[in-house]
Symmetry: C2
């Protein structure tokens, strides 16, 4: 393949949407999830995010980035107001509706209703889950870290309630999310299924790379 | 699919490696990248990370999580010492060697040499790129944000030098990383190729979800 080189000055000259598409592509394949929330008046909200990251396993922590200037700010308001939210994996059946939650619906609109994604309330967990997400979990809000550079925030939560398909949990507790139908996203709008190449053994300096 | 429910008390009781495998799986498909650095004495370092996130397009910012208590701390030391690092996508040819960089090699070992991944120095960019990565970019260190909760840090960088295959850049500047052979990771050790379902149109409240 012949490569082209793009530098800061080239990025500066790009049209805004082109730059957004280009720079978002560089992040690789990302986790696309729906975050479900509810405010104290009971109004539900659902928004797609593609910046979920693992922070730690003990305690179980994850985080995502919010831009306070765009639509999913309702998600942030609800999380801070109530302390709870759900994270729901996209799959081949739900990804188009999930993408549609990124439209700028008015405050009083539930994206569950607007897009036709059904809610699920599990036991006494406060925030709504997505019924048709196979892998989903509930989080307690822990910390908001503001990134002054560009006005975004990292929202950290503790994973406290998890629902996963029983037949996707392997002997070592790895969850086969490909088997569960989870999809991945690249750039801002490209959705993909996956095909496993291999699971790799825990790497040690004196061994060659080994597949499980 | 029949789902099982796991709560905080269940996580607490899991064996450490099982909990790590389980909780890491919940993050969905993630971006797996090799981060290349060099210290002031010229010693090169290469380490795999699966927590890359997009922070913003203007300026072009990305971030990743480091755990100071584990092997890739050499990456962090070099970034802080020199201010530069490279981020290199994994592909089907390189992912096994890339995984092998997670082994705890001694400080004086270059993971480029130990795993057989060749370096590439592009123009006058300080840090080494991975020759066989098709999508790669150079970053300037911008900020370290410590997450007190579990001792991890978010490392934010500005993307200043990008090399991508010319035939993978589409008309709207989206980069087709699937065409470039980029792979994705789930959990700690499962690598996957992808197959595109669709690119979606920019979502608007008065339209149904539309594919491009």
């Amino acid at each position: 393949m012949k490569n082209i080189i793009i530098k800061t000055a080239d990025l500066d000259e790009m049209e805004t949407r082109h730059r957004a598409a280009f720079v978002n592509s560089l992040g690789g394949f990302k986790s696309a999830v729906l975050i479900g929330t509810k405010n104290k008046e009971g109004l539900e909200n659902l928004a797609i995010f593609n910046s979920l990251i693992h922070i730690g396993a003990n305690p179980a922590l994850c985080a995502f980035i919010v831009r306070p200037d765009v639509s999913p700010r309702h998600t942030l308001e609800n999380i801070i107001e109530t302390g709870y939210y759900t994270i729901n994996h996209l799959n081949t059946e739900t990804y188009q509706k999930a993408h549609q939650t990124s439209a700028r619906y008015p405050r009083e609109t539930s994206e569950f209703e607007a897009t036709g994604l059904a809610t699920a309330y599990l036991e006494d967990f406060f925030a709504p889950f997505v019924e048709n997400s196979h892998v989903k979990f509930g989080c307690e809000f822990v910390e908001r870290i503001n990134i002054e550079l560009n006005g975004t925030s990292l929202i950290i939560g503790k994973i406290v309630y998890i629902s996963v398909p029983e037949n996707c949990v392997e002997d070592d507790s790895f969850v086969d999310i490909e088997k569960a139908g989870t999809v991945t996203v690249s750039g801002l709008d490209s959705y993909h299924t996956t095909k496993r190449l291999a699971r790799m053994e825990y790497a040690k300096p004196d061994k060659l790379p080994l597949t499980k």
